[in-house]
Point group: C2
């Protein structure tokens, strides 16, 4: 592994755990087991390093989302695939949702930048599909945006609020992951039950 890769990986871990303002360049250097000056040698500044990490993180998620949302399958099929593949993916990077949400909130100016990115999640097609399936009488009349929110909320929230969830329903990390595994089918069942005619 090259030094640059070591830095990137360490930065990914530290930024994810501590957020941008909480992360320390020294801590990233320590975790990468390299000299702090190397961070600036390869990435110029904390901002630049963060941006690289953040865009990479988002870049992992977005194509997956778009791939499913923009396919030609039926809505129910999309919902099933999305919940399953999103949760499977996020279980490998359990801090990704909270990281993305947190930084989008703390750096509002950052939102604009990434929304111009070609890889940004674009639900336009899915929203139209929902409308059309309502007209076709396949699903109950419902606000497409609300349904989209439902899908995101049910899948992403437990990870985003991980520690809170573990604390409140009083479960261990292992139990949490077990719950998330079961949740893959639970969510699509719930949503489809709610909207099918």
């Amino acid at each position: 592994m090259t030094t640059e890769e070591k830095i990137f990986e360490a930065a990914f871990n530290v930024f994810q755990k501590k957020g941008f303002t909480g992360a320390r360049m020294q801590e990233i250097a320590d975790e990468a087991e390299i000299n702090k000056a190397m961070l600036h040698y390869f990435f110029r500044s904390k901002e630049k390093l963060f941006e690289a990490v953040f865009m990479n993180a988002f870049g992992k998620l977005a194509p997956q989302i778009n791939g499913i949302f923009n396919s030609d399958e039926a809505l129910f099929e999309k919902i099933k695939k999305f919940t399953d593949s999103y949760i499977s993916f996020v279980m490998e990077y359990p801090f990704l949702p909270q990281f993305i949400i947190q930084e989008m909130n703390n750096n509002p100016e950052f939102v604009a930048k990434f929304l111009k990115d070609e890889k940004r999640p674009d639900p336009t097609k899915l929203l139209k599909q929902i409308e059309s399936e309502i007209e076709l009488g396949i699903i109950k009349p419902i606000s497409p945006k609300q349904l989209l929110l439902d899908i995101f909320a049910m899948t992403a929230f437990p990870f985003a609020a991980q520690n809170l969830v573990k604390g409140i329903i009083n479960i261990s990390n292992d139990e949490f992951f077990q719950l998330m595994k079961e949740r893959k089918i639970h969510i699509s069942e719930q949503i489809i039950n709610a909207i099918k005619k």
Copy 2:
């Protein structure tokens, strides 16, 4: 308004926007229009000030949640009341969910402290009620914990991921609030539709 109140209010705003690590004592002082030394005069340290703000924030939410969850009403009624009152409340403090979630994630040691608080949200009774209503044949068989997660996720997520949501479905702040208003009934409808027999 006393100086202490001015400080508290300013701290509440700044911590909410920037998080603990992102917040600056000077910024809080500026927002409160007082000398920075007063922060330490009244609250000793950044940690202490933060703790006061955080516990207060949680203290606003938790009783409301517990009040509904532990009442003697039927499940459907509880769900309706919860989504309505939670969203109404959070619309007045739109940054509260993201603030709480973020700090619970960034300060895991903080979780333990607040879980000992008497005001912590305790879903035990609600979980038992769900089980019993399943046995009574009122609702479909379903994992009580998953249902609890569903309720929290549907209500809290849009606020927690506010900026992301606004960006992705491309709506203004006003439209977002309109959507949240409609969401009060939308959520309970969705969930009840999904679980009713």
